[in-house]
Structure formats: structure tokens, C-alpha cells
């Protein structure tokens, strides 16, 4: 069955080419970093947990050495293909969209859980072929250009994956339960607004710390949501869960810990201030958090 195996094979090959191009240009730290990501994509499942952990330590070592270099600046390109240049750019989302819908009908062929990722991979490959046929790019050209982009992103590229893994260690160590107890202890007994505030702000704050509302939800549900809002005050569980999760999402908008949503776009767009995207999101996140608190309060009181 086609699933993450195809996705990881294509991603692995892309990183392998980035690594080879870096070796050619004698950028060895970059080459080693991309080579390790290649190993992870292509052979991660065969390595075992400890070896994968050692691979991560090596990635961190290279990143912390400060030897990775950014790309050399390229002159801004001129508009020479006209509207044709949009075709490969639009093919990726279009194939992702159609593929997601189509693959749901062939569950024996494509893993339904990974339909979008598989479709996105397919769209990328088709777009790459179109770069060659439509724009007459030589085979290596896209990878040289893509290597420039990944060099500018640098080690930030693996930060989302690193933070997700940190979450696994936090879970094993029971960080959530401790935070939940602390927050649960500060609510005045019988106060609806106190309970709602502790729950919604707790979701947002804990998400800011962990970078992930999914990590916050089980903790805040156990500490406040279920025992106080649902059992004690008789709130509708659907409202408590759904709106609480969205309060957590407001926290995600405001934290560098959610690197893939907040730091990665800043790196990808080449912004000078790496917190520029967070700064742009806070004025939306705060009023929206207030809205969620009012909605929750209105549905309980």
C-alpha cells in the first residue's frame, strides 16, 4: 500500500540531493546535516529508537557548532515565462486537493489516513516534471535552487520535529499532571467565571509552554474541564472540549514553541525578525481568546 513510505522516499531523495550539492560546494556542515535527515527519512524505521536518538544528537551537534552556512544571494529573477510559470505552482495544491478526494475511494491502494500527504507528494513530482517540460529546466536546476532555500532555513527545518519529540519526553515524565494540579489548586470553589478562566487561560498558557494544544488538552481536561466544568457545574462536554481546544489554538498563535507555524514561515519568507509572524498573530489571538472565554461562560452560566 502507498502511504508514508512514498512520502518519506521522495523527501529522502530530495535531501540526499541537497547533501550531494553541498558536498560539491564544500559546505560540509550543511552536507552532514542534510545527509542525516536523508538517513532518517530512508532508513529511520530500521534504525531502532536509540540509534534514532543518536541521530538527533548528531543533528543538534552540527546545528550548535555554528558551521552551517546560509545560501549565497541570487539576483532577483525577471519575468521571462509569462503566466506559464504559475502552472507548476498551482499544480501542487490542485493535485493535493483532487488526490485527497480521489484516493479516499481506493483504500486498498493508498492509505486513507495519509491521502493528502501522498497526493501532495504526487503533485510535487508532477510539478517537477512540468519544470522540465514546460520551463525547460535542466534536471539539476530545481535542486540547486531548492538547496538555496533550505540553506536559508537552516537547522530551523527540524525544530518542529524536535519540539514534538520533546513533548513525548514531557509526557513520559508526567509534566502535564504537575501543571494540571497547580492550575486546579488556584480556582475558588463554586465560581463559574473562575473555573472558565482557569480552564481557558490554562489551555492557552500550557499551549504556549508546550507549543501544542494537543499536549495541553488532556491535562486541562483532567485538571479543570471534566471535574469542575462538566461534573460540578453541569456544562455540555462538547462545548467544554471544542471551545477549550480553540482557546489552546489561540495560545499556539503566540508561542515560538510552535516552530512549524510561527518560526518556520518567518525563515521561509526570509523575514529579518524571526518573531515577526508571532507579532502579526498576537492581536488576533488575544481578542479571539477573550471570545472563547465569553462563549464558554455564556454556555455554562
Amino acid at each position: 500500500m502507498i502511504g508514508l513510505n512514498l512520502v518519506y522516499a521522495v523527501a529522502g531523495i530530495a535531501f540526499a540531493i541537497f547533501a550531494l550539492l553541498s558536498v560539491r560546494d564544500r559546505r560540509f556542515a550543511n552536507a552532514a546535516f542534510y545527509a542525516l535527515i536523508t538517513v532518517s527519512f530512508l532508513f529511520g524505521d530500521m534504525l531502532g529508537d536509540v540509534a534514532n536518538g543518536v541521530l538527533v544528537l548528531a543533528l543538534v551537534g552540527i546545528a550548535a557548532s555554528g558551521q552551517m552556512r546560509r545560501a549565497e544571494a541570487v539576483a532577483p529573477a525577471e519575468d521571462r515565462h509569462g503566466a506559464k510559470v504559475f502552472v507548476p505552482a498551482l499544480v501542487i495544491p490542485a493535485v493535493a486537493l483532487l488526490g485527497t478526494l480521489a484516493f479516499k475511494h481506493v483504500p486498498a491502494l493508498v492509505d486513507p489516513k495519509q491521502a493528502t500527504l501522498v497526493a501532495l507528494t504526487l503533485g510535487t513530482v508532477i510539478a517537477l516534471v512540468l519544470c522540465g517540460t514546460l520551463l525547460r529546466a535542466r534536471a539539476a536546476e530545481p535542486f540547486v535552487a531548492g538547496r538555496g532555500l533550505i540553506d536559508d532555513i537552516g537547522w530551523v527545518a527540524v525544530m518542529p520535529q524536535m519540539l514534538a519529540s520533546l513533548g513525548a519526553v514531557f509526557a513520559l515524565a508526567g509534566v502535564g499532571e504537575v501543571v494540571g494540579e497547580l492550575i486546579g489548586a488556584v480556582i475558588p470553589a463554586g465560581s463559574v467565571i473562575g473555573g472558565v478562566l482557569a480552564y481557558a487561560l490554562g489551555m492557552a498558557l500550557f499551549t504556549i509552554v508546550m507549543g501544542n494544544a494537543f499536549a495541553a488538552f488532556p491535562v486541562m481536561a483532567a485538571a479543570v474541564g471534566v471535574p469542575i466544568l462538566i461534573r460540578q457545574m453541569g456544562a455540555d462536554p462538547a462545548v467544554v472540549a471544542a471551545v477549550g481546544m480553540l482557546a489552546g489554538f489561540c495560545g499556539t498563535l503566540m508561542t515560538p514553541m510552535a516552530a512549524n507555524f510561527n518560526l518556520l514561515p518567518a525563515a521561509l519568507l526570509g523575514l529579518k525578525d524571526k518573531y515577526a509572524v508571532i507579532r502579526a498573530q498576537v492581536p488576533t489571538a488575544l481578542p479571539l481568546l477573550a471570545f472563547n472565554i465569553l462563549l464558554l461562560y455564556g454556555m455554562i452560566a
Partner: protein, 222 residues
């Protein structure tokens, strides 16, 4: 209580501007030690999770296509295109994208768009071109690009929970089942709609303000 030391490491490490990857791994070690885990177990737990979450990093496979198109004038072309729309402003363009992102995410199509797939190659250059035409100062380019990325994330977050089969809905259902509370995904997803509308109104007004500011600056410059 000592397991919270890892959170202190994260906050302190980010604040003191150590390499964030180093901060993350040290935080994992400190947290693990505080919980009485041995180093090998900590490294193995981290490695296992790293291997399970590779799909997060797989998105970079689109970079060769995006990179090539940029060197062949994609962004220049996006500017020309926007210059042809008389009524196009940065704010209106991003409001349209916000709606597109919320609706597609609500249909479960979360990976169709994103910072790498759509914002860098298409949305950010178009918004930037529109802002320039409105007369925004050169230093506004950075703000407009950041706003384009922010719009993408807001649209995703406050659209995806309307879809029934999204991870967060399944997580909520699973957690509540642990307390003997049975809910259908539909009951949860319907409660994502009020906040989705509020997100569109709040972020949309900010985009309207962005337009006002850009054109005010444009008038001031003339």
C-alpha cells in the same frame, strides 16, 4: 515538581539565545533526569518520537519546485498579475485567502495550502505587490509578508476543527471517552463554528486596518 525544570530550561535557553535545538535536547535530558529516567531511555524516547513525526519535515520536498519557479520569475509574475487588478489591495487579497484557507481546512484539506505550498510562492508576493501599489513604505514589505503567514495560520487553525476527522476532534473524543463521556465528532465540530466566524471577523478587521494604514501612508508620501 522537579520535572518542571525542563520548562525553565526552555524559557531560559530561548531568552538567553542559545541554539534552540540545543535548548530542546537539554530540556529533554533535564526533564527525564528529574523524573528518574536513565539517559539511554531518554534518548530512545526522543529518537522514537522523532522517527514517528517525520511527516512534519517532509513538506520541504516542495522546495526544489518553488526554488526553480522563483528563479524563473514567479514572484515577478505574481506582481505583474496583481498590478493588473485595479481593486486589489493587500488587505482584500489576504481576506480572500483567509476565507479560502478556512473553507478548505473545514473540508479537511489542511495540507493543500501552507507556508511552503502557497504563502511563499504566491500569497506573500501578491500581497507585497498590492501593498506597494497602495503606496506602502518599503519597510511595510516585512509587515505585509508576516501578515500573509499569520493569515495562513489563523485560517488553518480556525477552520480545521469544523472537519469531523481532524486529529484534534479525535483527540477530544478519545480523552472524554476515558471519563465515560461519549460524544460524536459532529457534536464537537459544530462548536468550532462560532469561533471560526469570530476569527474571520477579528482577523478580517485587522486586514481592513492594514489597508487603511497602507493607503494613508501612500497619501502622506504624495
Amino acid at each position: 515538581m522537579w520535572v518542571l525544570a525542563g520548562i525553565v530550561v526552555i524559557a531560559g535557553g530561548f531568552l538567553l539565545r542559545f541554539n534552540p535545538l540545543l535548548v530542546i535536547i537539554v530540556s529533554a535530558l533535564v526533564t527525564g533526569f528529574a523524573a528518574g529516567l536513565d539517559p539511554v531511555r531518554i534518548v530512545a524516547t526522543f529518537g522514537h518520537a522523532f522517527n514517528e513525526t517525520r511527516y512534519v519535515t517532509a513538506i520541504y520536498m516542495v522546495l526544489p519546485v518553488i526554488g526553480l519557479l522563483e528563479r524563473r520569475g514567479l514572484q515577478a509574475r505574481a506582481r505583474t498579475l496583481v498590478a493588473g487588478f485595479r481593486g486589489a489591495t493587500a488587505g482584500r487579497l489576504l481576506t480572500g485567502y483567509l476565507l479560502f484557507r478556512q473553507v478548505t481546512a473545514a473540508l479537511g484539506l489542511t495540507s493543500v495550502a501552507g507556508p511552503a505550498q502557497t504563502v511563499r510562492p504566491l500569497v506573500a508576493p501578491m500581497a507585497e505587490a498590492a501593498a506597494e501599489r497602495q503606496g506602502g513604505a518599503p519597510e511595510d514589505a516585512e509587515r505585509v509578508k508576516a501578515m500573509a503567514a499569520a493569515t495562513d495560520t489563523v485560517g488553518l487553525f480556525f477552520g480545521e476543527d469544523i472537519f469531523l476527522a481532524v486529529g484534534s476532534i479525535l483527540l477530544m473524543k478519545g480523552v472524554l471517552e476515558g471519563y465515560g463521556i461519549m460524544l460524536e465528532p459532529f457534536q464537537l465540530s459544530i462548536w468550532a463554528i462560532p469561533t471560526a466566524i469570530a476569527a474571520f471577523v477579528i482577523h478580517g478587521s485587522r486586514l481592513w486596518w492594514l489597508d487603511r494604514r497602507l493607503s494613508r501612508e501612500g497619501r502622506g508620501a504624495r
